[in-house]
Amino acid sequence: MLPVKASDGSLDLLNWIAGIPGKSNTLWDHATYPLTIAFPEEYPAKPPKVKFPAGFYHPNVYPSGTVCLSILNEEQDWRPAISLKQILLGVQELLNTPNPDSPAQEPAWRLFTKDRLAYEKKVREQTKRYANPDK
């Protein structure tokens, strides 16, 4: 996980990029999913905004790519004590264990709740798109 770096090497500490490796032995394995983390000035009083690329296929990711996770929601479970590691682990965990009660995009949610095989197929296609180079 690295802060966004300008060409002169200076760091933009409010915007970080990270890669979330899919958990081993899950559909999401063997790929690293790009993530941007934008910290508001008020961090840690306010949570960072965590985004996958737009159109990321997951029931709890909005079409814009923003991750819908209670610990990232100021009005839900965000606490200033939540560390970045916990956030990243939370997002990694979310990949393979979506929360159908909190849908953020319709296509993935629909297939996840109604046609699990088709959902898994879509996830596998996405995994290939973000496959690790050495795989």
């Binding site: 770096k5 060409s7 090497g9 760091l11 009083a45 209670s70 479970d77 088709a118 798109r129 795989k135």
Partner: protein, 1398 residues
């Protein structure tokens, strides 16, 4: 022995069960008996040689039991270790303990086995203390007890133990005990005010490094590493210099060379870990040492260790340990560069030298790691761990690049070039691999001409052919790294020179992709990226693509993603061609190919077995998605104006209207083949999805194009497809496609055709649609879209409208969120008819007014709203809101008719609905409506909450407010909440709400016994006037209330209460006294404006005279500092009596009272340091404080008060008080005030240290530790001062970390979504107050407030911090309501404050 162990275990179980009750019952006799029994058992166990030999686990279990007893003793057992030692000495359990003074002689007289056993016991207690989780209050008591009694005994024991000659295991136990205590001490220092001096023990530990027994040396090294990692501040300067001379002196060198010669890499690795832990604690010091030649041997040693011989991971891990370290060091050099520059401002030459040295150092380091990154000769050794190691090296190079800059990449690429010439292929791979890490983020600006030339040179030297020839497995990393390098080198292709190499590079990538499955994904991605980035440069390359495209489409085994990527790449290039003729020709070839290949497979489907069929269907799906992807790729940019010249655009239109190659027909043929010819494909969701997509891509185009198909043809497709679909699951796709057609063509669409299409896909399938929520949702979305763009399309179709209205009412009962959203859209559109013409409006009015629709809709909305989940309420609210707004008169009737009928149906009746209806109608659909509605919802929960409260009162439980053990009966009144939804502030002020004297008078009279929270919406109240009013109000009310306006950066109203929940003592012991006197401190922050109130508290009550308002950040700090009258060292610090107000700074002119600007609340944002730098000792004291003129600049790192000139700095007066003495003002020959961000300032500190002989280098670490984010950020806001005496020659004033939590009342957030309705649970009438306060009060505002007081306080007084009702949180908010009535005599889980201890 096992039997004995189970006996011990039985004790554990019983102790766990019964100790707490014995302690609570204060059954000290019984407790003493148990203790004595355990000790007697232990004495007999340790006297038994066989147990000592083979049954240590039994002894340890028994020690755990004693430890458990101690931890639960609530402070009644002060020193278990001493008790045990005394008992062993007396050979029986005894309560009388020997004194510490006698302990030495007693221990010396004992056999070493006893010392060993005692050490183990001490270790077990320390470990259990770390594990212990208790309330903060009893925790602090325990920490105090341990520090006072247990640690001194342990220290003596360990000192004696270190001198005792005994078995090897005694030393091991000693080291483990030290480690356990360091761990505990670190925790205790954070949790309490206790400070541990472990120097003595650590010194012994350091001496063990030179022990002749290497196993002890290793253990000592491991222990020291652990402690340094846990808390480096335990090491004072003496210890550090001792350690430094050991690590980097002869001992270290000999140690490394000895173990290297013994091939004992693990020992060297452990040693390296210790060195790194040591250096990590002082990176800034290390940077500065670079400039000092006397430390050059240190860096030589580190470089030598990094270059430890052997293959990384496989044979050595030392370089792995150092990779992370060098990365941190490089980042440090980079991030702190400006600080270094500032530090050496007076000596620029020295800064330049330092820079050169940094470069030289990292030159050496990168060379070492370049070597280490080589793929092992036997690629089987290239394991996952090695891959991670190489990634770390890549990160290191990325971090080092800004320091060394261009030469680093040039060096790597030059290596590639020279290796090509010498045929040393092994050196190419790591060079490209590492160069990629640096160059991947170059962008166009990053491309230096030297690099362009170098890459060209490499390509001219036949890099790619050379790599391609190396296809055996051992070169797979070379190929992969080459692909990776060129996939991100757009900085190279985008230059004129680079673009000439594109064919060569693409040829290489294609070759990799086609000839091996291993590289398919990476190379196809590289191709897609390059084609996307350089489409205009690749037009010439189109013919070369044809063969590849043919292969991609024809070869069924090609991965579908790879196929799609390559066809996308092809489409990207075609799209870049503005000549429609060339576009058409290429598309024709592509479509022909796709068509012919698909037609080869489709006929085989029916005869294929299941497995083959799956492969075929996947392949065909991939082909149709390729067509769809081409459609997407061919879309014109959103800003089409200017994309074509007029001539070009005319040519495009003409070409595609004429469609000489009949591509539209071809496309439709493909669509037909995939959708109509075979039932397996026809029912396939993905194929229809891609087909719908490709139609949609053309629908939004403004100019004719290959995918722009006549809409009537698409309608025809929809009808045909709908008739042939055997499974309805794909029907939503057709609804969606029809919706897109309507949005694109609503002005011109043939209504008859549209109606018949709707009839086919919806009306005739009603039976199917009704049963499937997805179909309900998608069809409602379709009709919602029609109503959005052209309501007459639907309203003009009366039979359809009739069906839909019934349909819309029926599905209000849905439980699916997406269906309800579609319902909401449908009904709100049909009620509001925003795009409707007069005819539509008249028609709908007639239907609502003349039929039962309005009533039926109202009734059903209410009915299902009461049954739905909380998170769905908004849907129903919105519909009612629109009905009220649009049909206010009729709505009254509908509501009045609906509620009685609802009550007939419901078991639980809705009371007082008439009042509710009146209120709803009064709002006329405005925002207040929502508030009232929320109240209504919340009131349903009210009775349970009230009952719980009374239950609590009955039980005699008080509502407590306060902290630090104080008990203040307290109630909190949420009094004024103003809804500003439509009012400007000016408007508000005109209403005289806040200037009304009677209002303030009422507040004054009402609130003597109350803590008031005034609620204002932040954005509307930013004017000076409003702040002034609030300031005046606060000023007037001091000290009886702590009043804060708490603003949040969002559009809602919050009622908040701010309570101090904890006060962290982070520095010298005296500070806590200061903090304890601050009962309530609160910050209101809006932008950089904050309001701070500190109330001093004595004797459990608020002290009128001790309120202090601070105006400015500097004033905040200096002001508080100013108020410190130091008595008896810091321990006597107290706030100076007497409130003082000041006029605010420029930006806050006219403010009186509690307004201030603070730089930041994010931890310690700055600190001041006083250093005596004339070299003499500072142990004098006993002087008065004085002002010292200061000419420095106070630099605030953000906020408005940047670079404020300071005119004075205060140094506290100090008294002689042993070790706690502070800086003696008289001796301050010069004072350096150093401010800024903490991180930057650590270097300032170091600079100071460097210039001061009598300086503790550990001080910076201590400062760092004080503000370690993870420790402090658990709390929401921090502000204040921490006084830290880091060394007797350094005095640091840090921001006080006053940790408190913003606690929102349950009744807050009036504008939040209804999902948070539980916040309103106790708020019976405040919403009405909010809505009506301004309007209803008229001139008799005070009367209103009184009325509120009388009527509502009985309710709002329940809203203390200890509500006896809980709504458990469900993050999804979809579960059932969970307001619970607690069983009798159950405490609230919300009780934040610990009950005062005994």
């Amino acid at each position: 022995m096992n039997c004995k162990f189970f006996g011990a275990l039985t004790y554990t179980v019983n102790l766990n069960f019964h100790t707490a009750s014995l302690v609570n019952d204060q059954d000290s006799v019984r407790l003493l008996e148990i203790r004595a029994t355990l000790i007697d058992h232990l004495i007999s166990l340790i006297s038994d040689e066989s147990v000592l030999r083979t049954g240590l686990f039994v002894i340890k279990k028994m020690f755990s039991n004693l430890s458990l007893l101690f931890l639960n003793s609530n402070g009644t057992w002060e020193n278990p270790l001493l008790t045990f030692i005394s008992s062993v000495a007396a050979n029986r359990a005894t309560e009388s303990t020997i004194s510490l003074e006698e302990l030495d002689s007693l221990l010396i007289s004992m056999p070493w086995q006893n010392i060993w056993i005692f050490t183990i016991f001490s270790q077990i207690i320390a470990e259990d203390l770390v594990k212990k989780e208790t309330t903060s209050l009893s925790n602090v008591q325990t920490h105090n007890l341990v520090h006072r009694h247990l640690f001194p005994t342990t220290e003596k024991l360990m000192v004696v133990s270190s001198k005792t000659s005994g078995d090897h295991k005694l030393v091991v136990a000693w080291l483990e005990c030290l480690s356990a205590w360091a761990n505990y001490a670190s925790k205790a220092e954070f949790d309490s005010t206790e400070r541990y001096n472990m120097a003595n023990l650590l010194s012994i530990c350091i001496s063990l490094i030179t022990n002749s027994d290497f196993s002890i040396t290793e253990k000592a090294i491991e222990t020291l590493s652990e402690i340094l990692e846990i808390n480096p501040t335990f090491f004072n300067s003496n210890l550090k210099s001792e350690l430094q001379s050991l690590l980097f002196g002869n001992v270290g060198v000999q140690y490394v060379s000895y173990f290297s010669s013994q091939n004992d890499e693990k020992s060297v690795c452990d040693f390296a870990r210790l060195i790194i832990a040591f250096l990590d604690s002082d990176l800034s010091g290390l940077v500065l040492k670079l400039n000092d030649d006397k430390y050059s041997h240190v860096f030589d040693f580190l470089v030598g260790l990094t270059d430890f011989p052997g293959v990384a991971i496989d044979e050595e891990n030392v370089s792995k340990e150092f990779a992370d370290f060098w990365l941190r060091f490089a980042d440090y050099c980079l991030v702190e560069d400006t600080t270094l520059q500032a530090l050496m401002e007076k000596d620029p030459a020295s800064y330049e030298i330092l820079n050169d040295k940094v470069k030289m150092l990292f030159n050496k380091i990168t060379q070492i790691y370049w070597k280490k990154a080589h793929v092992p000769e036997d690629v089987a050794h290239f394991k996952q761990e090695f891959a991670l190691y190489r990634r770390d090296i890549g990160d290191l190079f990325e971090s080092v690049y800004p320091l060394i800059k261009l030469p680093l990449v040039v060096n790597l690429l030059s290596t590639v070039h020279s290796s090509l010439q010498t045929g040393d292929l092994d050196s190419i791979e790591p060079s490209l691999f590492l160069a990629n890490y640096i160059s991947k983020d170059f962008g166009e600006e990053g491309a230096d001409s030297q690099l362009i030339d170098l890459v060209s040179l490499i390509l001219d030297a036949s890099l790619l052919p050379t790599v391609l020839q190396s296809k055996s497995n051992e070169f797979k990393y070379l190929i992969n790294s080459t692909i990776q390098f060129f996939s991100t080198a757009d900085w190279f292709y985008k230059t004129q020179k680079g673009s000439t190499y594109l064919p060569q590079i693409l040829g290489f990538l294609f070759d990799c992709m086609i000839n091996s499955n291993v590289y398919q994904l990476t190379s196809s991605k590289a191709i897609a990226d390059i084609c996307n980035e350089c489409r205009f440069s690749l037009v010439e390359f189109l013919p070369s693509f044809e063969t590849i495209i043919s292969e991609m489409i024809s070869n069924i085994s090609v991965d579908s993603l790879v196929r799609q990527r390559i066809i996308n790449s092809y489409a990207s290039i075609i799209q870049g061609v503005k000549n429609p003729v060339i576009q058409g020709e290429n598309l024709k070839k592509l479509f022909d190919l796709l068509d012919s290949k698909s037609m080869l497979i489709i006929p085989k489907l029916d005869a294929a077995n299941a497995e083959e069929r799956e492969v075929y269907v996947d392949y065909l799906t991939s082909l149709i998605s390729c067509v769809s992807a081409v459609g997407k790729g061919m879309q014109l940019p959103e800003e089409v104006d200017g994309y074509y010249t007029e001539e070009q655009e005319a040519a495009v239109r003409e070409y595609w209207d004429a469609d000489p190659l009949a591509l539209h027909d071809k496309l439709l043929t493909i669509v037909r083949n995939f959708n109509m010819t075979n039932q397996i494909l026809s029912d396939n969701y993905s194929i229809l999805e891609e087909t719908v997509n490709l139609f949609k891509y053309g629908l939004t185009e403004t100019i004719s194009g290959p995918f722009v198909i006549d809409y009537t043809t698409i309608l025809q497709f929809i009808v045909t497809k709908s008739n042939t679909l055997q499974k309805p699951n794909a029907l939503p796709l057709l609804f969606s496609l029809l919706g897109s057609i309507i949005v694109a063509h609503y002005r011109t669409i043939d209504r008859e055709l549209l109606n018949s299409t709707i009839d086919t896909i919806f009306t005739s399938k009603m039976a199917i649609v009704e049963d499937d929520p997805d179909l309900v949702q998608s069809s409602l979305n379709l009709f919602g879209s029609m109503l959005t763009v052209q309501p007459s399309l639907l309203i003009g179709n009366e039979p359809l409208l009739t069906i839909l209205l019934q349909f819309g009412v029926r599905h209000l009962q849905s439980n699916e969120r997406f269906v309800l959203k579609a319902i909401e859209k449908f009904w709100t559109r049909i009620i509001t008819l925003r795009k409707g013409d007069r005819q539509d409006t008249m028609a709908m009015r007639r239907i609502f007014n003349e039929t039962e629709l309005g009533y039926v809709l109202t009734f059903n909305v209410l009915k299902y709203m009461f049954a739905t989940q909380r998170s769905n309420l908004e849907t129903f609210i919105e519909i009612i809101k629109q009905l009220v707004a649009k049909y206010p008169l009729m709505m009254s009737k509908w509501l009045n008719d609906s509620f009685p009928k609802l009550n007939q149906e419901r078991a639980k009746k809705i009371d007082n609905w008439e009042i509710f209806v009146k209120k709803i109608l009064l709002t006329r659909g405005t925002r207040e409506y929502t508030l009232i509605w929320k109240k209504e919802e919340s009131s349903r929960l009210q009775s349970v909450a009230t009952k719980n409260f009374h239950q609590r009162v009955t039980l005699g439980k008080e509502v407590h407010f306060g902290d630090l053990g104080h008990r203040e009966p307290c109630s909190v009144l949420a009094l004024v909440a103003v809804n500003f939804s439509t009012d400007s502030e000016q408007h508000l002020l005109e209403r005289d709400v806040f200037v009304d004297e009677s209002f303030q008078r009422v507040l004054a009279n009402t609130l003597d016994a109350w803590v008031l929270s005034v609620v204002l919406e932040f954005q509307k109240l930013q004017s000076r006037k409003s702040k002034q009013l609030v300031g005046l109000f606060v000023e007037e009310r001091q000290p009886h209330l702590a009043c804060f306006v708490y603003h949040r950066h969002r559009q809602n109203v919050s009622i908040v209460r701010l309570c101090v929940v904890d006060v962290a003592l982070l520095a010298s012991p005296g500070t806590i006294i200061l903090l304890e006197q601050l009962l309530v401190a609160a910050i209101v922050r809006t932008g950089w404006v904050a309001e701070v109130v500190c109330l001093n508290k004595r004797d459990g009550g608020l002290d009128v005279e001790k309120v202090r308002f601070v105006l400015h950040s500097q004033s905040l700090v200096l002001g508080l500092f100013d108020s410190l009258a130091v008595q008896d060292g810091l321990s006597g610090v107290e706030l100076i009596v007497g409130a003082r107000t000041r006029v605010g700074s420029d930006g806050l002119e006219g403010l009186v009272g509690a307004l201030c600007v603070v730089p930041s609340f994010d931890l310690v944002s700055f600190f001041n340091v006083w250093v005596h730098n004339d070299g003499s000792s500072w142990n004098q004291r006993q002087t008065l404080s004085a002002e010292i003129l200061h000419s420095g600049t106070f630099e605030c790192h953000h906020g408005a008060n940047r670079n404020v000139e300071l005119t004075r700095v205060l140094v506290p007066k100090t008294n002689v008080h042993g070790k706690s003495s502070l800086v003696h003002q008289n001796n301050v020959s010069s004072v350096e005030r150093l401010t800024g961000r903490l991180g930057n300032n650590l270097l300032f500190l170091l600079h100071v240290f460097q210039d001061t002989n009598d300086v503790d280098h550990g001080a910076s670490l201590q400062a760092l530790d004080l503000v370690e984010r993870s420790k402090v950020k658990v709390q929401l806001w921090n502000v204040g001062i921490v006084l830290a005496r880091l060394h007797h020659s350094i005095f640091i004033e840090l921001q006080l970390v006053l940790v408190f939590e913003v606690r929102e009342l349950r009744l807050c957030h009036l504008h939040r979504r209804l999902t948070d309705v539980e916040n309103l649970v106790l708020l019976q009438n405040v919403p009405e107050l909010v809505c009506n306060l301004v309007e209803s009060s008229g001139s008799d505002l005070s009367g209103l407030v009184q009325q509120v007081h009388v009527e509502q306080l009985s309710v709002s007084s329940l809203v203390g911090p200890v509500l006896h009702v809980a709504l458990k949180r469900n993050s999804g908010l979809d579960g059932p309501r969970v307001l619970e009535e607690w069983p009798q005599e159950t405490e609230s889980s919300y009780c934040l404050w610990p009950e005062p201890g005994p």
